[in-house]
Amino acid sequence: MTLLGPLGVALAVFVAALVAPLLLRGFIDNLARAPTTVPQRMPFVGGVAPEVHAWNRYHARYYTMALVFLAFDMEMVFMYPWAVVFVREGVSAFVEMAMFITVLLLGVLYMWRERALAWA
């Protein structure tokens, strides 16, 4: 495992912490899973049985923000390598990233001005 490096250890931690709760849950279910009744399987919102399924074409009103997120999130990919070499590269790195960020911030400014963030 050490030969796979620290990421191998991280993977081992991930798998262990993923499997342990599933095992616990399976174990408890196996031990004492009482069958559920039909009224128990009805979602509870105060005592009246729901008329329709809750799964629907949910109108997520922040869709504009979500789509802008797709584009803005990419900026992080560029920032990580930049952060590593920033001190070495000095002022030029500072200026280049400032340019890049300013351009992207213009997008956010535009979005904010168009009031595309608020939805309710």
């Binding site: 869709y63 797709l70 990419m74 990919v77």
Partner: protein, 101 residues
Amino acid sequence: MNLQAVLVVAAALFAIGVYGALSQQSLVMLIMGLEMMINAGILAAVGFWSLAAGGNPQGEMLVIMFMTVMAVEMALGFSLITNVYRIRRADITEKLRRLRE
């Protein structure tokens, strides 16, 4: 693990993407097919970068560009779908064709 193996896996992912992009009626699912093809592209690019191009940083740059293309494609694709849906109340390719007429 050699370059051939990586490229075969990439080809499989690409083929799934082709299937998805060609067969799906829904525009959103169609975009998923495109994503899958880019996924294959990323894998192949890193395969070359790692095993054939000696770790040239421009290979990594290419992968980042792939990711950017993916993000842009998704953002614009979904915006178009939203607009089409607003006008046509449908997200299906056949109906889009009718829109064009």
